[in-house]
């Protein structure tokens, strides 16, 4: 456990093949939020986006953070994605507090973090191949290795024939798959997905959720999904954390929450199906 971030990154398999990949490689990265609070100041208004939120995502699991808009999901996502520091609290990747890292140390930690943004943020001037290669370029991998890895990821997401297309020429579902492949390029221990299906039609949604589950099953990546859709939770999530007004109100698997729901949010989300 000495500096997991530095050590686990080169240890990850860099040239996998979907067919021969072991069904369950050792998942080894857990994510823990510890007493996260964040307040925004808008003029003379203060908004408590997160109030003392603590929970864990066990290594190798797929966990959802669900809540209505304004519940603090985006703030939590930004804290976990190393984009916006919380006012207090820790975001721990195994035992390393991401927000204690600076400069090159933080850069290295980010190689262990795959992020799929709600708006995807594929770079329009780069081809599909170049987009997926980018995290590996930043990690300083050699070009031959990068090409092999990109090709294998492209086959994995079924877009090998689109390698040299630009993002604007892809459909929404295809773009989403490129974003997932790019997030997995450096074989990260943690995959963060912000509303991964909010812009997709039902059948594409299914395909994308299956892809995320395959990522966990084949590469052992731990997954945290931010969502407001119960269908996402039902289809692939092992555990759910419910946020309400910036507070964590419930935790558990779907069966537990069904039997014994405490929060308004769960009831409302279930009813909205």
């Amino acid at each position: 456990m000495v500096s997991i971030l530095a050590s686990s990154f080169p240890v990850q398999p860099t040239d996998f093949n979907a067919e021969n990949a072991p069904a369950h490689p050792m998942p080894d990265i857990s994510l823990t939020f510890k007493n996260i609070s964040k307040t925004y100041h808008l003029g003379d208004q203060t908004i408590s986006a997160l109030k003392d939120v603590s929970f864990s995502v066990p290594a190798g699991s797929i966990q959802a953070v669900i809540g209505e808009s304004g519940a603090g999901k985006s703030t939590l996502f930004k804290a976990a994605a190393t984009l916006e520091a919380p006012d207090s609290g820790q975001v721990l990747l195994n035992n390393t507090d991401l927000w204690q890292l600076r400069g090159p140390e933080l850069q290295r930690a980010r190689f262990n973090l795959g992020v799929v943004f709600q708006q995807l943020h594929l770079l329009p001037s780069k081809t599909v191949h170049e987009n997926i290669a980018l995290p590996m370029v930043f990690a300083g991998k050699d070009p031959a290795q990068i090409t092999r890895r990109v090709d294998s990821l492209l086959r994995w997401v079924g877009l090998f024939d689109r390698a040299h297309h630009y993002p604007k020429n892809l459909s929404g579902g295809q773009r989403q798959r490129v974003a997932i492949a790019r997030a997995l390029a450096n074989s990260p221990g943690l995959l963060l997905c912000d509303e991964p299906t909010s812009a997709l039609d039902p059948s594409t949604t299914n395909a994308i959720l299956n892809l995320i589950r395959n990522a966990r099953d084949e590469f052992g990546v731990t997954v945290l999904i931010i969502t407001h859709e119960m269908s996402v939770v039902r289809q692939i999530c092992d555990r759910i954390t419910i946020l309400e007004n910036g507070q964590r109100v419930e935790d558990g698997n779907l069966a537990e929450l069904r039997q014994n729901p405490h929060s308004h949010t769960y009831a409302r989300l279930k009813d909205s199906e």
Binding site: R110, F117, V137
Partner: protein, 219 residues
């Protein structure tokens, strides 16, 4: 016949002088303006390394440079021009005020090009583990490239008109020719020819710039 030959010779020489002035000035002011614009985007609030004080100073300098009319700037910085190139007359000397005037001009256009790059792309690349230098090259420079090329086009055309003004105070080139022969010696044909050459130059630069920008634009 001799007269026509002489006119053609004058026009060719003047055109080449203008091309040389504009080419060198465009190259230097693009480089200088680009460095300045990168500094601005890095220093601004929310940038890679916010430095509000430096930003204020640079903005003040750029605004100062942008607010002085070129014809006045040209005369005002003669001592500086002499210091740099040893003379204040001729084609080489004209390049100095042209660059001094075009650097802040291009810097503003390049800054606008950088600000057009969606912030989400910068965030995405940051989260991938890019270094500050990689963030600049892969987002601002690469994604801003079409807008940057358009900025170079506009700057080049501005420099063509600067070069004509520089000609009026002994800088050589087409402006010089138009003043000395077309205006002072009443040679309307020379005047007309210089105007046509300048128009053609601007058209060519604009359409070439548009075409290159288009090629790099995948949005």
């Amino acid at each position: 016949m001799a007269n026509l030959e002489e006119s053609l010779h004058l026009l060719t020489t003047a055109t080449l002088e203008t091309l040389a002035m504009v080419a060198v000035a465009t190259l230097l002011s693009t480089l200088g303006g680009l460095l300045l614009a990168i500094t601005l985007i890095v220093c601004e609030p929310g940038g890679l390394h916010p430095m509000p004080r430096l930003l204020r100073i640079l903005n003040a300098i750029i605004n100062l440079g942008r607010s002085i009319p070129f014809i006045i700037l040209m005369v005002a910085i003669i001592p500086f021009t002499r210091l740099i190139v040893g003379t204040s007359i001729g084609t080489t000397a004209a390049i100095v005020p042209m660059v001094v005037a075009a650097i802040p001009y291009f810097a503003r256009l390049a800054e606008a090009a950088f600000k057009e790059v969606p912030h989400g792309l910068v965030e995405a690349v940051t989260v991938m583990g890019a270094s500050p230098r990689q963030i600049i090259t892969h987002t601002y420079l690469r994604e801003g490239l079409p807008a940057l090329i358009r900025a170079v086009t506009v700057t080049t055309i501005t420099l063509i008109s600067y070069s004509a003004m520089a000609g009026a105070v002994g800088g050589g080139g087409l402006g010089d020719l138009a003043i000395r022969y077309g205006y002072q010696r009443f040679q309307t044909d020379i005047m007309l020819a210089t105007v046509i050459i300048l128009v053609v130059m601007v058209q060519l630069v604009q359409s070439l710039g548009d075409r290159i920008a288009q090629r790099y634009d995948h949005r």
